[in-house]
Symmetry: C2
Subunit: 351 residues, 2 copies
């Protein structure tokens, strides 16, 4: 009892301190206006607290008349929640849809997103330094963290769920698209047409686990089908690197492959543009190209790319649910969830 | 003196409340470890507070050994700052670059972004309800607010700067690209080639002030050049709506215009794809197309769009500076800054 009261006072003081500064209406103003005690006002905003209907009506009338808004941070000192979660994304330009889906779903549950966007994966360390300064209830990471960085979350008791970053042998929660299965579907499509003999792969950055899983999935399926002479070059997931990779593939094998498997859609679109506008080749007439992700532009008529679409909505919903469950209950064990991608048959494979 | 002390105590209590929960190292742990008082630790993190070098070294050694991080929210109760700003964006998919630039610049100044993304402009009301629950130091809005909504910021003393949303007759700060000037440049380019007689315009949503300014700029320049029979149809800024708008233009005038001016790049790319893949027309051979914004995809070889590039970096820098200046000094008057766009000459105008 004494403890609750003390915490509640802190919240009240925090609210006073903050709102006095802003000229905001405080719970004290509401109390004075309604002719009740401040603690009665406070109880009206405390989940599960006992308040008579008469008292509640009286307070709510004053709340409405004064335009009072309870302060989420101050309230957090009561509930031990800030109702803020951190979202770390490694490259915002690749993730607008993911961030949009996460944000929408958190907001619908009364939780807000404090954004930590990286220019480069190597900035994670300094981002975490900053993150620890905020009382976030939990964190979604769409970026790679080291096992040491992950351990800090455990130590600090801050729940963490990864978006599309898988960790083997690290007990951490994640939601992923099945990269390997997706690539196997794409290779099977390419092989199924019977028109391809020479395969090339444009992988992502060398330190990307997602790229590694996609590339290994493609290579494994190609090997099963009897294709074991496959050139692999690397890009950095951007359109421009997809264009440059064509030159690397040409250099590596002396001639253009007749099918190119790209680790993401952005590189696949760069690759298509390079084939068409630099080498005057037809896609898919001369060269077939496949991507991965299912970004919006991949479906545009200029590309009509055959790709595997990540189920972003299901994945975002899973991440949000998993994180909020772990904020509510810190005894839940780490869980890994993997969603199958959906093959999008475009017009970029020769038939 | 008494007041400062009281506020400082609140901060300390907030920190205790929060960090005890998280198992984080608190300033009390640091004090015990260093063998000094908690207030000495606190002074080391308070800008401008007097601390001897010996004391600072002693505290910082303990800080390092324990891995202590001062809590930004708790510190905010001392400095009257949360070091968080709200960023409202109307459609995240259009704004990844803007959000990325804003985020990077705020972070480099020790300020973090609490994200409020809208699915529809009409959600602004409910977003603001939520925003008032957080102690943000200021807000950047890349969305349209009503004058009544803007007035609430003044009342609450929360600085507000608009990104690319202009208000005439409303004393509010904003950073904009010169929409009208940009459109005039584009029309001059089209007219300069001497190859166009029939102009069509694909405007943005009817409630978009940016679209209105762009469309009026284009119409005014066309009129000066003697073209006053111009059909205007509307899209919703998406690629798909650019495709659909071609049908509307055809319907409106019975034949295809020979130059189409689109209120943004996304619609221009949809328009190009519809002309090429639905109507089998060449761009720019049969129809010239121009856009606005300078998004990355506009420069891809498939489009190579002639457009006006918004100086996103300069605009983001201006917004961040203006907002932080107003957080530091609430006496600064509203200011409107307008940056010229940069003409990007692509290959989508017939020469």
């Amino acid at each position: 009892m004494a403890k609750t009261k003390q915490v509640s006072n802190k919240a009240v003081e925090a609210e006073q301190g903050n709102d006095a500064h802003r000229g905001r209406v405080t719970s004290y103003d509401v109390a004075a206006h309604a002719g009740v005690s401040q603690s009665a006002v406070s109880r009206c905003f405390k989940p599960g607290a006992s308040v008579s209907k008469k008292m509640r009506d009286r307070v709510m009338k004053a709340v409405e008349e004064l335009g009072y808004r309870p302060n989420a941070i101050a309230r957090g000192l009561i509930t031990r929640r800030s109702n803020m979660v951190g979202v770390i994304v490694s490259n915002l330009n690749f993730y607008p849809e993911v961030l949009s889906e996460l944000n929408k779903r958190f907001i619908s549950r009364g939780v807000h997103v404090l954004l930590f966007a990286l220019d480069q994966e190597s900035d994670v360390g300094s981002i975490l330094e900053q993150l620890w300064q905020y009382p976030v209830d939990g964190v979604v990471a769409a970026a790679h963290l080291t096992p040491e960085q992950i351990a800090l979350f455990d130590e600090r008791g801050v729940p963490l769920v990864f978006y599309n970053r898988a960790y083997q042998d690290v007990p951490v929660s994640s939601v992923c698209c099945d990269q390997s299965e997706g690539e196997r579907m794409l290779v099977s499509q390419l092989a199924g047409s019977g028109k391809h003999k020479d395969f090339g792969i444009i992988a992502g950055p060398r330190d990307s686990v997602v790229s590694m899983q996609r590339t290994e999935g493609a290579l494994a399926r190609l090997k099963e089908l009897g294709f074991d002479q496959v050139n692999v070059v690397s890009g950095d997931y951007t359109y421009e690197s997809g264009r440059r990779a064509i030159g690397k593939l040409l250099e590596a094998r002396g001639e253009m492959p007749d099918a190119i498997i790209c680790a993401n859609d952005m590189m696949a679109m760069g690759c298509m543009d390079e084939l068409r506008f630099k080498h005057d080749l037809d896609v898919p007439g001369d060269v077939s190209v496949v991507g991965f992700d299912g970004v919006k532009a991949a479906a545009w008529a200029s590309f009509n790319l055959t790709t595997v679409t990540q189920p972003v909505e299901s994945m975002a919903e899973a991440v949000v649910t998993m994180l909020l469950d772990r904020i509510d209950n810190d005894g839940l064990p780490p869980e890994k969830r993997t969603f199958s991608g959906v093959l999008r048959s475009g017009g970029s494979i020769r038939q």
